[in-house]
Each structure stands twice: as C-alpha cells, then as structure tokens.
Assembly symmetry: C2
Homo-oligomer: 195 residues x 2
Amino acid sequence: MGAPVERTRIRRLPDKAVRERDALHAVLDAGMLAHVAFVHDGQPYAVPVAYGRDGDSVLLHGSTGSRLFRLLAGGAPCCFSVTLLDGLILARSAFEASMRYRSAMVLGTCGVVSDQVPALRLISEHLVPGRWDVIRPPSSKELAATLVLRLPLAEWSLKVSDGWPETGPEDEGWSPPVGVIPIRTVLDDFVAGEA
Amino acid sequence: MGAPVERTRIRRLPDKAVRERDALHAVLDAGMLAHVAFVHDGQPYAVPVAYGRDGDSVLLHGSTGSRLFRLLAGGAPCCFSVTLLDGLILARSAFEASMRYRSAMVLGTCGVVSDQVPALRLISEHLVPGRWDVIRPPSSKELAATLVLRLPLAEWSLKVSDGWPETGPEDEGWSPPVGVIPIRTVLDDFVAGEA
C-alpha cells in the first residue's frame, strides 16, 4: 500500500482509487509512454517521455541538453503520469458518458542515476525485451550526453475505471444501445528499414 | 502557422518541429485523451482529460467539484498535451533507439464556456460520432455541475517523429535487425452492457 497522503488522495470519484502497489506496478509495466509535468518560469508543461520501472521507482532518460531533464536533475518537483485508455463507456445520458482507463500518477523529485548502463538497459528492455543484448551499447561520449533519473514510487495514486454505463431514473424513455467500445494498443509486425 | 513564440519553440531535435496548423488539428482530431498540466501549491500535476477540437480551440469538460477544472476556470496557466505513439524505432545502437510519435502541446489559460450544450455535443461527437442524437441530453441540474472550458490554439508546438533508425560509423560491426515496430490504437466492436 502506498502512503495515502493528501496530495495524491483521489478527490473525484474516490471509489475508483486503488491503493495496491502491485496494481500500480502493473499499470506502469503495461504503459510505454508517460507525461511528466514540471514548472518553468511559472508555466506548467506536460512532456511525453519513455520510461521503465525498477522495483519501487521509475527510470527516465533524456539528453543533457533537454530543459526537462536539466530541471528534474536539479530537483524540480514533478508529476509522472501514465494513462492507459481502455474503452469508451456509452451510457443512456450524455452526463454518464465516460471512459475506461487506468491512470497512475507519481509526485516527487528525481535523483540522478550515476550507474547509467543498467538503468538504460532496464528502460530498453521494458520497451523491447531482448533488444539490449543485440545492439551496440552506449559509448562513454553518448553516456556523457545522457541524463538518467530515478523517481521513487513513494507518493502516488492509481485510479481505475473499468465498469459499465450507469442508468438512472432520469433516463426512462431513452433506450440507445448502451455498453462499451473497448480500446487496445496494438504492436504490429516489425518492419525492417533504415534512414 | 502558429506564432513561433519562445515558450513553444522546440529546443530538442528542432528538425522534428511542424508549424502547419492543419497538422496540429489532425493530431488533436486523432487523439482521444490529453494530459493537462497545472500547478497547485507549487506542485505540478498532469491529469488525463477528454476533449474535442472546435476550430482554433480545444474544449474540455469536467465537474465543478474537480480541482483541475476549478483552477483552470479561475485562469490558472496550463499546458494541454496530446501524444500519439506511432511506433518503436529499433536502431543498431542503444543511443539511437527512439519512438515514432506525434506530440502536440498547447500553452495558455482557459475561458469558461457559458453555452455548454453545443460544446458538450462537440466533445461527445469527437469521441463517438453520431452518439449525441440518440442519448438523453444533459439536464439543467447536470449542466450546473459541469464546467466547460475553452483553450485557444494560440501558443502551441507540434513535434513529429516518423522516420527510420539512424546508423553511424560507430555502429560498424553491429548488425541486429533494424526498423520499426508500428503501434496502433484499435477500437474493438461495441459490447452491450449496463451497470
């Protein structure tokens, strides 16, 4: 169980909150892309990043030239969000129309990972298992241009919507088809090619 | 063309920047979920939201009880990001491993939409075309519990990665399969059901 601290307490639809750490891990392991929110000059940004989970933290990598990675490496507070869209919920009313989703959110600050290669390998293996062993590993010059960051899964929330459309007394007399359009992310067959 | 202002100038991999407004529209029209970044008590958050595009703005809807929507309605600066993940780029080196993606980012502040019904219809039709005409429209009580916001597509960036893996002289002697694993989002057949 994660610490049910105030900043990650789920306020809207609290019945959708999940507190099991295994469920958080499963969502992070199923995702491929996160959005990381940070603040610069008072302006919030949400930037997509690849990642991998290493036990009770997530690992990110980026360029030393990236504003996001330099700010995070400097200890800027961030929010790391992974949302998996699982379906569209079609209800009798507009008001009850909704989505099926699994939404993980982690708040905190990142630490810089000095032992870069195992971390880069973990991120690579998360996305394409087995790939690391056949590719050229990073050179020292490439590593010098790379920032690897670790964000602990300490302050987090997980919200899961996996139900069916709700019908109320106001909906009497309205009988459109109701149910769910499932949504999946599909990886197609590998296409060989080079720039 | 969008205004090439400093805050949305693409710093990393600027050759991937796209400035055509039609391309921005196409990405927003293809997406179903955005992440909205905002700041509360110095902490950034990235929260998933449904949306629809109305000409040169995006429309969002949420509960009047939602912290996100109350802050945005109060004029808090935000970042609205839609990222479509199109593939995994498998290169000879770890360093050149990458993703195919289309990433739209809009900065600004939202205005509150008083004429809610056409905006809610637009968001609904974006997600499930034709649905609005067969469902129960929102009651005045439901509308009173709903905030509809409009964010102009004024300050924005679009970054598109759609290429093939790069090979350099350092990769000589390394010959793993190189290419792309395409990724698609699939809507499956409707499944009837009710809570």
